[in-house]
């Protein structure tokens, strides 16, 4: 992997978003001339670029959400600054900053309890309790809106493209599993 830069420090920008200071290693790739988003300065003897807004992307959102986080310039598609191999390597307050940004980029409620599933004319109406609170949603029965991430793990996509996860089907009660059977 080609090292493009080394993130020295994350900070909270004026509007509350994630900002980053990067030490330039490969200056031809990231530099004040190349990138309008970053401002360059010299701090503590090294060549630094400050990015007012960066965002964090999970490379393996399902297999390992806390590892391999790509830090990218801007708020949407932007150039990669660095990859954090493990969030645990960061200091607690730095970790909090990255975690906060991840929360803004990913919202994937985990279904803990299924209260009811009603199917009616091509749509299935779910009423569930997730780790983010109770919610009702509808999925289209026709398509492939329930996908298996593994033998026991499910990803459900509703009509609005919201995503819900079932971590372990076998952890649900038999009755709940029977309700889900239709979609497996």
């Amino acid at each position: 992997m080609e090292e493009t830069g080394k993130i020295l420090k994350f900070y909270e920008s004026a509007g509350g978003f994630l900002g980053a200071k990067v030490e330039n290693i490969n200056t031809s790739k990231i530099g004040p001339d190349d990138n309008k988003n970053g401002t360059s300065n010299t701090e503590a003897g090294c060549d630094l670029t400050t990015y007012e807004r960066v965002h964090a992307v999970r490379l393996f959102p399902f297999t390992d959400p806390a590892k391999y986080i790509s830090i990218r310039v801007g708020s949407e598609a932007g150039e990669e600054l660095a990859i954090i191999e493990d969030l645990a390597d960061l200091s607690p307050e730095q970790r909090e900053l990255v975690k906060r940004d991840l929360e803004l980029n990913y919202f994937l409620p985990v279904i803990n309890k299924i209260l009811s599933i009603k199917d009616e004319y091509g749509y299935a109406y779910f009423h569930v309790i997730t780790d983010k609170g109770p919610v009702r949603f509808a999925i289209n029965m026709g398509g492939t809106n329930v996908t298996k991430l593994s033998e026991t793990r499910l990803l459900i996509t509703d009509i609005n493209e919201n995503r819900f996860e079932v971590r372990d089907v076998t952890k649900l009660t038999k009755k709940e599993q029977r309700k889900l059977d239709l979609f497996l």
Binding site: G15, G16, L104, F107, Y121, G133, V135, N162, D181
Partner: protein, 724 residues
């Protein structure tokens, strides 16, 4: 879409509306700061302020005068509204994806207010789920559940109007069928009581009864055959007519209507929804009156015959219905599951078979076969379960449905023995009971069939009732080819402009090359020129006349188009070239093919100009297809030519052939050519560079190089690539 939801009165009080500060938009916020689902939280935009209510409390007020650049962005599983508040990028709120599109409109609304204008943004997009009942809406403007019976009855009546004669005939047949069905038990009673149980049974009377029964049975058969025949015919005709009507309507609707819908959805409306109507006519409607008539008469006759016994018979009916529904639900679930498992198995098989080269080259046969065995095993298990379930429960259901009859036999038999009832009456009663329970099954199915029909009718009438703005006949003119874009602005989604304020004027016969990064709006510019979409703002003039006022047919006949991928219709090469001008002679077609460098390869095909091409026909290469498209355009002799990446997907040799064909074609015609490879545009009189929704640069090749701008950068980048 609704951009102003009703918020609780308690919150409205806190807004303090004023004459010059009214509520513009209000939307729920459903994700809170802690990333949990939020309740009772709203974003309210008034003329001057943005108010945030969190859990019923006014949490924040922003002044619109401090705001700029509001933007709704979609993230994974959620979206967020951000704006530049006092110069800093600030998060306003988060929401789940049901609200993302709405917030995109609101963001546009905030930007308009921040810009000092006061118009309100409106959205023509449909709600994904019903604001009244919360059900998902199947892509229509109204919810099929909440639109009310009135709407559907009206639509059905409108759809049925042309067929009222057949409908009337079928209704008569239905009533005939029920009368014959109901008469039979009456004769049976007569046979038993008046003939068989008499001390001296009269043979001739018996034969008379039997003859009557035979005639009735025969009558039922005839009536039923006629009824089914006419219902099927009517159903087929209705769905055929509807398909035609839908197809015509879809062709007439603007592309934006089609783009707003999911792909496949409109196809479904033409194919599946009309099928639902046909099936309803064939299976449900043809029995509707018969069943209703028999059902009512049946109950009346039973009550007249013996009120007490009739009441006893009715008691098990609700239970029978409940059991029947539960059984059906369970059966549906089970067989759906079986279908899914079967599907899993076959798709896995298909996967492996089509990827066999990969599987073999990595030596993964064993793992794959284990995977398949597991799925197959699973399928076998579900199938066996289902079959045994069916074998056990089907007879049980039959027995349950027969319970009513048992009740009748027991109590009726008692009454016959006590002399309160004759044997013939009992027989008649039993037949009525059987009929009753037979139709309970049908009745239990009816609501489902009706709902299916309702959804389909709703979807169909949604298309049919779409109002196409009829502008009347346009102006028919021979165009010279002068084109002027005057402040033309357009976006596929009203909140997201693709082209903004395009200014460009093109002389007749001028060749214009269009370059720019992907997604900049090059093809959109050409779509506007083709009249596929209408500009949201500004005008597009052809020969000084607004393109909207021109007659579409005459305008399109003077427009030639060669796209990146040429679509050939199933048919011969001759038919495909002639598509541009159906009246063209053979000589003209050969001449056109020669100009297009197509004649020689056509001669090499086995069938010459009669070679069948298209989906199942002779396989032409990409370059050959392009040259047929060019021949088509040559034949049309258009005044305006559009080339959209016409040579992008070709190899060097075909590209050369197509290029020479194109330069023959474009001689003296106003031409717009899009290309990524800049070398293909060297013949153009002027080049325009589109970037950031606008015309960034405009001028000849030399001028743009001298300017050292975007075009220069693109060109040097491409030259460097060639060196490598």
């Amino acid at each position: 879409m609704i951009l102003k939801v009703k918020i609780p009165d308690k919150l409205t009080e806190q807004i303090h509306e004023a004459d010059d500060d009214r509520i513009y938009y209000a939307l729920p916020i459903d994700i809170n700061r802690d990333s949990n689902y939020a309740d009772n939280s709203f974003l309210v935009v008034t003329t001057k302020r943005i108010l945030l209510f969190e859990e019923g409390v006014l949490a924040n007020t922003l002044l619109i005068s401090d705001c700029a650049g509001a933007k709704a962005t979609a993230r994974v599983g959620q979206g967020m509204l951000t704006l530049e508040y006092k110069g800093a990028l600030t998060l306003v709120c988060r929401f789940s994806h049901g609200l993302t599109a709405k917030y995109a409109y609101i963001a546009r609304g905030i930007n308009i207010l921040a810009g000092g204008r006061f118009e309100e943004v409106e959205s023509n997009e449909y709600e994904p789920s019903c604001p009244i009942c919360g059900r998902a809406i199947p892509g229509t403007s109204k919810c099929p559940h909440c639109s009310g019976e009135g709407g559907i009855v009206k639509t059905v009546r409108r759809l049925a109007r042309p067929y009222h004669k057949s409908l009337f005939g079928i209704a008569i047949l239905m009533i005939l069928a029920s009368v014959t069905t109901l008469l039979n038990p009456e004769i049976q009673k007569h046979l038993v009581d008046k003939v068989l149980l008499k001390e001296s049974p009269g043979k001739s009377a018996a034969f008379l009864c039997l003859g009557g029964m035979f005639a009735l049975s025969l009558g039922i058969v005839f009536v039923n055959v006629a009824k089914s025949y006419y219902s099927t015919k009517l159903g087929a005709r209705m769905s055929h007519d509807l398909r035609g009507e839908l197809f015509d309507k879809l062709q007439a609707t603007p592309l934006s209507y089609i783009n707003d819908r999911r792909p496949g959805e409109l196809l479904n409306r033409v194919v599946s929804d009309t099928r639902v109507i046909r099936e309803f006519m064939e299976n449900v409607f043809c029995n509707l009156f018969t069943v209703a008539f028999i059902f009512v008469c049946d109950i009346v006759f039973m009550v007249i015959l013996n009120p007490g016994l009739a009441l006893l018979t009715f008691i098990p009916a609700p239970f029978a219905i409940a059991i029947l529904l539960a059984f059906r639900k369970s059966i549906n679930r089970r067989f759906h599951l079986q279908w899914v498992k079967n599907d899993d198995q076959s798709s896995s098989l298909q996967d492996v078979l089509s990827g066999m080269r990969v599987v073999k080259s990595y030596g993964n046969e064993k793992a794959e076969s284990e995977k398949f065995l597991k799925l197959s095993n699973e399928y076998a298990r579900v199938q066996m379960n289902n079959e045994s379930f069916w074998a056990v429960f089907n007879p049980i259901i039959g027995t349950v449905l027969g319970l009513g009859l048992l009740v009748v036999v027991f109590f009726g038999g008692k009454k016959v023995l006590e002399g309160e009832m004759t044997a013939g009456e009992l027989l008649q009663f039993m037949t009525y009971t059987t009929l009753l329970y037979q139709y309970i099954n049908w009745m239990a199915n009816f609501p489902r069939a009706l709902m299916r029909l309702k959804s389909s009718v709703e979807r169909i009438s949604d298309v049919l009732s779409y109002n196409i703005v009829n502008k009347g006949p346009g102006e028919v003119t021979d165009i010279n080819g002068e084109v002027v874009f005057d402040h033309t602005t357009f976006g596929y989604k009203s909140y997201k402009p693709v082209l903004e304020g395009i200014e460009l004027s093109v002389r007749p016969g001028e060749k214009i090359g269009i370059v720019g990064p992907s997604g900049a709006g090059k093809s959109t510019l050409i779509n506007l020129l083709m009249g596929l979409y209408e500009a949201d703002d500004g005008v597009l003039l052809v020969d000084g006349k607004d393109i909207r006022t021109l007659d579409r047919k005459s305008f399109h006949s003077q427009l030639g188009v060669v796209l990146q991928e040429t679509f050939l219709f199933s048919g011969t090469i001759l038919e495909n070239i002639r598509f541009a001008r159906p009246g063209a002679t053979m000589d003209e077609i050969i001449a056109a093919a020669k100009i297009a460098n197509a004649h020689d390869f056509i001669c090499k095909t086995p069938g010459g100009y009669d070679t069948y091409v298209g989906e199942k026909g002779y396989n032409l290469s990409g370059g050959e297809r392009q040259r047929i498209a060019i021949a088509r355009a040559v034949l049309a002799d258009p005044k305006l030519l559009i080339l959209d990446e016409a040579t992008a997907s070709l190899d060097t040799e075909s590209e050369y052939l197509v290029q020479t064909a194109l330069s023959a074609l474009t001689k003296g015609k106003t031409t717009f050519a899009i290309a990524h490879r800049l070398s293909t545009l060297k013949d153009c009189d002027r080049l325009i560079v589109i970037d950031g929704h606008r015309v960034a640069e405009c001028g000849s090749h030399e001028e743009l190089i001298a300017a050292k701008g975007l075009y220069y950068e693109l060109l040097t980048a491409q030259l460097q690539m060639q060196k490598v």
